[in-house]
Symmetry: C2
Subunit: 226 residues, 2 copies
């Protein structure tokens, strides 16, 4: 059985939160616990990313060093948070340094352990994918909430621009949904929601890549160009 504080930290983290007790137990037992004093280095930029870390206690900072030696802090991580996994999945090297900010306990889980454990129990991989998928859904919801106010306005402006370029009120959208979403600073999910909003209002019609603007006056007002 892993220690109670390791289990409690793991259950907070998206990667571990959806694992069944047996799978969670199997992966935590094969992790390596370590203790670090404040100021102690955990890894350096350029080290092989052959493991990732779960913070059990304490705090860790992730930073880059400028050529002049100045630290640019990128992130801080506390109990229940993991770091290093993005670089580890890619199988590359850590792109930044990690250092303990105070007395800290970490559990390191290696790529080799995970690889072997996935082969033995594919449900472990499925559980980790479930945790990340759930977290992604939460973040998509948060982005929608944060950007919903502005996206329809920016979309209205972009549609007016396209209609003007096409020299009429109907045009064929040449950009993909992902490209258009990026251009107005959002994600495809939120763009779709904004398009539906304009359609429901009866201001535009969308058929595949073809968009017809029925109410340029309303789009102009919404975009703040009036």
């Amino acid at each position: 059985m892993p220690r109670e504080d390791v289990l409690a930290a793991a259950r907070k983290s998206p990667l571990f939160s959806r694992l069944k007790p047996r799978a969670l137990d199997a992966v935590l037992r094969r992790g390596a616990l370590s203790r670090h004093e404040g100021g102690e280095s955990i890894f350096m930029s350029g080290d092989p990313a052959d493991r990732f870390y779960l913070v059990v206690r304490g705090r860790v900072k992730i930073f880059k060093l400028s050529s002049g030696g100045a630290q640019q802090i990128l992130h801080g991580f506390g109990p229940g948070e993991t770091f290093g996994e993005a670089a580890m999945w890619e199988g590359g090297r850590f792109p930044a340094c990690a250092e303990a900010l105070e007395p800290t306990q970490l559990l390191a889980v290696s790529r080799a352990v995970l690889r072997e454990a996935f082969g033995r129990d594919p449900e472990l991989a499925i559980g980790m994918l479930a945790g990340l998928s759930r977290r992604l859904r939460e973040l998509v919801g948060l982005v929608e909430e944060l950007s919903l106010k502005d996206v329809p306005a920016r979309l209205a402006g972009a549609l007016l621009d396209e209609a003007e370029k096409a020299g009429g009120s109907a045009f064929c959208m040449k950009r993909t949904k992902a490209e258009l979403a990026a251009a107005i600073g959002t994600i495809p999910e939120t763009l779709s929601r904004a398009l539906r909003k304009l359609k429901r209002a009866g201001w535009i019609e969308v058929r595949g890549p073809r968009i017809a603007v029925f109410r340029p006056d309303e789009l102009r007002r919404l975009s703040g160009r009036d």
Copy 2:
């Protein structure tokens, strides 16, 4: 070799984008291609979530039906987007209905195929985890960007409230970072950035859970309470 349009759609999707060519090929070849007319049902709410879908061509809407039979559209998905995977990883049932909006081609990949493929080639699971991790990192960045303007202001207000409750200028934070982040409508990563901003300005000091407020006047101004 999977068809070129299936490959092109898969490469756009986070789940497939980080797979090595051989792993991508292996999973796509074991998917089931299907064609649907506009208006055709793909799955109903309550159906077993034993597969997920990649949109190759066309468009799909995800909706729920109210007790009165009204459709509440939750999402639309186009080429290169996947749907159904969150429910599939959890091994439950689809929580909503899916229907083609126009002539649509889909690739369905079953949980059983993935489970078996992960066991045979753990790198396939690692590649999918890499894709989701990368997408998570992008979304965390987007949330930070979207909420960075407001979070320090809301944090300043929350810190003033805590200091007032504690009856002084220094207090011990009883909420975890995740709880405080949720309370001010952001995520722990953005909260950390806002805390650093206030620390760098010299307005607060943070030592573990202990926070000292040096400049309540500045926090009050930032929070918009003046």
